[in-house]
């Protein structure tokens, strides 16, 4: 049983390199993502009106929330990959899980940073131990721990197995923490979806114009679908190449 059997070996890939080696669908997807992100940024920076209360800094929100949903989607990929790996032991699933964790971590850091930049002028502080911020930070830390776990195990089979298990625990933590913060609305973090204890016109909550709603809707859609999927696909391809190199190395050593 050769590990290469697990990978899609297209002989043509040997001949070409760079963008030419990408599957056609990936080329289209990457292009579409770049264009879509550009459109989203245009909408966010120019098309939607300036918020009366908060000023320009409110525009960060379009990225902020979108990055969060993107991260969540990516992490769902991690848990799906983990579960499927444990069931089928097909290495591809673990590659998806790894890609999800890395992309998701990047997006959640983006979420955290945009949030902090927004918070400084609005709340007059970079950070506060508000439940929602805490849970966002925990999300980052959990998946950073996931990556640290992976780097701490040499044996590939054990690494994939343990990472799958931890990935399942990690998403559970994220979901539980999200739910817990919803149950206790004693937070200063703006509640966009759902009830807020605050007067909707008071500082901290949002009132959306038509343009803003459209902007946030489009950006969210882009960042939660196109961006994670494209990034993860690229990452999985990279991982496949790494696995292939390892397999070739092993073939030589096994002679």
């Amino acid at each position: 049983m050769s590990a290469i059997g697990n990978l899609s070996s297209n002989p043509n890939q040997h001949a070409r390199s760079g963008i030419a080696a990408w599957p056609p669908l990936l080329r289209i997807l990457t292009l579409a993502t770049i264009i879509a992100v550009a459109i989203g940024l245009y909408l966010g920076l120019f098309y939607s009106g300036t918020d009366i209360d908060q000023g320009q800094v409110q525009r960060l929100f379009y990225i902020h929330l979108s990055a969060f949903t993107g991260a969540f989607i990516a992490f769902c990929g991690t848990v799906l990959g983990g579960v499927q790996y444990l069931r089928t032991r097909n290495v591809q699933w673990d590659s998806i899980a790894l890609a999800g964790a890395e992309v998701g971590l990047a997006l959640s850091i983006l979420n955290l940073v945009t949030g902090m930049i927004w918070a400084r002028p609005i709340w007059n502080t970079w950070w506060t131990w508000d439940p929602r911020l805490t849970s966002a930070a925990i999300m980052c830390l959990t998946y950073a721990a996931y990556l640290m776990l992976r780097s701490g195990i040499e044996n590939a089979e054990q690494r994939r197995r343990f990472a799958s298990i931890y990935g399942i625990l990690a998403i559970t933590t994220v979901i539980l923490t999200l739910m817990i913060t919803r149950i206790r609305p004693d937070t200063i973090h703006p509640v966009v979806i759902g009830p807020s204890v605050q007067n909707p016109n008071a500082e901290g909550a949002f009132e959306f114009s038509e343009r803003m709603s459209m902007t946030i809707g489009i950006n969210s859609a882009i960042w939660s679908t196109l961006v994670p999927v494209t990034l993860m696909w690229h990452r999985v391809r990279l991982q496949n190449l790494i696995e292939r190199v390892n397999a070739l190395k092993a073939e030589v050593l096994n002679k």
């Binding site: 049983m1 590990a3 040499e154 044996n155 590939a156 089979e157 390892n246 397999a247 190395k249 092993a250 050593l253 096994n254 002679k255």
Partner: protein
Amino acid sequence: MAEKSALIEMRALVKTYDLLIVLRKLDLKIERGEFVALLGPNGSGKSTLLRLLSGLSKPTSGTIFIGGWELPREAAAVRAQIGMVSHRALLYENLTARENLQFFARLYNLPQQDIDAQIRLLLERVGLAKRGDSLVRTFSRGMQQRLSIARALLNNPAVLLMDEPYTGLDQDAAQVLDGLLTQAYADGRTILMTSHDLDRAARLASRVLILSRGNIGYDAPASALNGQQLSERYSEITSLATAR
């Protein structure tokens, strides 16, 4: 379920660690009552083979049958029939010898009414009768190994797997171990022992295997070659592998 087929049977057994092949399509049959010495240099796959037989590891491909049961699918059926001794003690230091054996007796679901008598008997067998209530922490390596064998014999196993059991033993302890193994063999147990000691292997075992680079390079009754010849044969096989 065993009938006329061998007690232990391995077919096309492959085990890889991280894509590195340790056992290459190994075929092996061991009959009931044989005492097999498994020799080979480090990295040849001896310990791996034992781990696969004990159910601690799963094969990458191929099949293993013990007493007709297929590992690892039906491993649960087999575990009660196997005793394993490794170069690690597999004992709890802060418990007494007796308490250790009692713990394992419970794990193996041995009938409670006999167990104290059984334990006393076993401790006598391995020469630890007087140290039954001493903490294992106070035991020398030789004594720990002896207790380890007592543990392995607790469930009256049909198969004994011994992974380099003589490691770290002095002359006296080694002699005691010799006696125990010979007795176990006489009792009709099937024994598979890995070792670096060619002489001892040739002396104790009924059959000698030499494993090299994941495959069996030599397989003959122990009487086939004397110590010197065996040593030469061993060097031949193992250097052949590295020369490749």
